[in-house]
Amino acid sequence: MISEKGALSGLKVLDLTHYVAGPYCTKLLATYGADVIKVEKPGTGDGARLIGAPVNGQPDPEASALFLYLNTDKKSVTLDLKSSDSKEILKRLVGWADVLVESFRPGYLQKLGLGYEYLKKLNPRLIMVSISNFGATGPYRDYRATELIEYALSGIMYMLGTYEGSPLKHGLLQGQYFAGGYAASATVAAVYANHEDNSGQFVDVSIMESMMPITNFLAALYPYAGAVMRRLPKSPRLYEVLMKTADGYLAPVFYGYTDWKSFSTMMNCPELDVPKFDNPTGRDVNAQELLDILNREFAKWKTRELVSTAQAWRFPFGMVQTIQDLSTCEQLLAREYFATLTHPHAGKITMPRAPFKMAASPARIESPAPLLGQHNAVVYSGLLGFSGEDIVRLRNLGAI
């Protein structure tokens, strides 16, 4: 029997986040069942509505790919936190919530009189999760940042790129996602901890620190052996390169004492079946010669064919999949990885469903990202009990 309830079913989340890291955190919570109310600025809303590429080709804050992806299964209300008339609404929202997640610059909410100490007086069991570029303390706290800046300070960038090339960042917004994932874990841990005494707590998540684990193995060589690791070596070894095939790129991976004879047979290439290549040291020492042969041989193959063949021989090869490849990937499709939703402005959109499958408490992806203020009525009158007159008055004051 399938339970219909998500793991976080019943958890109430007040979402004061914007752009990427914060919204991704609350999206993960919503995907596993939490009830998320997203508070947006009247008029413009979450900045991600403006920076994401509009999928329908014309400027449209309701059709930003980035926003549409990051805000599924949330409700949107508009509220001007700077307006004194909004205080009453915010108080009731905070009273409703188990968790408040925010991603303003450190100190901003305190300045509005909405710091944790104050909010905790309104709701003593409140968990408040603050996500910021460099954390709530420390000398970089007020530094300005973008994804590129985070990449530099997290140490990832120094270790990504070719020997001759400059340090490099990954494509898209990986750092923000790493942080959203860790913020979600810290949130659920705090929720779990509340079962003990229901006294809430403040959680400080730094995007920079959330990115740093990725570099852990490489960075650890400094306190272990004084080594400052860098990018790809002068002559990359076999497992460090992506190689061209007839129609794409292959990730050949060999670990330790691999069955090199089988590999030579599989490639049907006697030139490979020689002692200087049949052990890891030999392959490292003669890397360039080996890469020259493999470049020539791999070019004869189509990527998918080569990877399936290699896998049948138990070699853990992979291939560089494009977004188009992902959308037709037989493995992803067989596992129903993608969900298709219909959005009033963007039409039919497809996106990943969830990062993991829970057998008893399945993930959901039911509602597309909300239109700006779509749930004002449902939340303000339905949930919080404001009258129709109150709402008209608050709207006229610009509070909502």
Partner: protein, 464 residues
Amino acid sequence: MSIKGAGGTELKKPALKGIRILDLGVAVAVPVATRNLALFGAEVIRIESAGRPDVTRFGSYADNKMSGEFWNKSARFNSINTNKKSLALDLSKPRGIEIFKELVKKSDVVAENWSPRVKRNLGLDWESLAKIKPDIIMVSASGYGDSGPWADWAAWGLAVDAMTGLAHVTGYRGGPPVKMIAPVSDWIGAEYVTLSILMALEYRHHTGKGQWIDISEMEAAAMHLGEAIVEHSVNGKEPMRMGNRHQFMAPHGCYRCKGNDRWVTIAVTSDKEWDALSRALGSPAWTKDEKFSSGPSRWHNQDELDAHIEGWTMEHENREVMELLQKAGVPAAAVLNSRDLHLDTHLNQRGYFHKVRHPQAAGNEDMGTRIYPGAAWKTPGAEPQELSAAPRLGQDNRDILVNLLGLSEDEVEKLAKEGVIGTKPTEADRMASSGWGVVPPAKQIELGIINEYDPDYKKNLGVG
């Protein structure tokens, strides 16, 4: 006794105090996750065997020396296994499986990242474990997931980074895809193993039910490409490799500075920041050029703009550039390397790194005090989580078998004799004689594997 924090408020207990996790992990995805959970207060028993110790125990040795119990001296293993116990138990022997099942009865979570068929071959799938511990939570993390046509494909992070689409979007402008020397998907997988276990514990708290979780690293990592997947689904657009550039911001790049492989990044997000940058540079004539007068024109003339900026940064230290520009309100950052990170004022003021004294093992060189990273989150209102050194292989065999499972000392001795438990890799002597994985620092610099080597690193770090 309760611990009081600032202002006399009582600090919370760590979230997972009292939770016991059996870690059957290999390499990164599960061990990093259970380390996270140990930082939340869980008790983690790391299970390996003398026949198959974790791969990360080999190479990356302390002080680059493969001596003594070298398998207990690896930076890779020790950095991601802090705050754990070690049981070296051979699961290929029936008695090993029996003991494991006894442990399951006393545990909350089992986490593994074998190839999917392994758990079934060993009879350790969730259904089997739930027969002996109905509310057990089990996580299986694999490269491509437990079902589907690729379920049995062999997977290592280096290949998964490519499969997941991350390599496709990563690389210099106009160049081929590039991969990082350490795979990223394993670490992304670890984040979601962490999250999934926390969610399952929360679900169990409310329902009393355990469950099985199936994580595909490829799927977890592709979550981080979501906006590109949404866009592609509507208009078929394929993202391009852009190096360090941005779709509409300029300047937005990584610039060489004074010194050996030193760099700074600068990202200008508005006209206001552009003006601030110009002023900080002393308003040289080129900043007044019509070509750079608006966002779009700066973006279109980026090559020239970058050359001007790099001409200036090359005259300065990267930290100097960062501090000057940040003070002027311009997003800028020094590109930190592993030494910079460990000596960084911000991270150290936030208490990110921890000094950990390794207990000295009889007959072994002293590992001394080493530095390890802490958690990726802070909970100032909770009891501070002290870091303890990663366990030596089989360090807690006796403690776990006698004190947790109630076996007799005689029985433990018998298990050791039969090789069901152990403390030394069966291949240790052969490995020691091969010396594999030890390359002198000068050679590493020559090959471009490392950039620099500090013989005085312990002094720099204040640990010796």
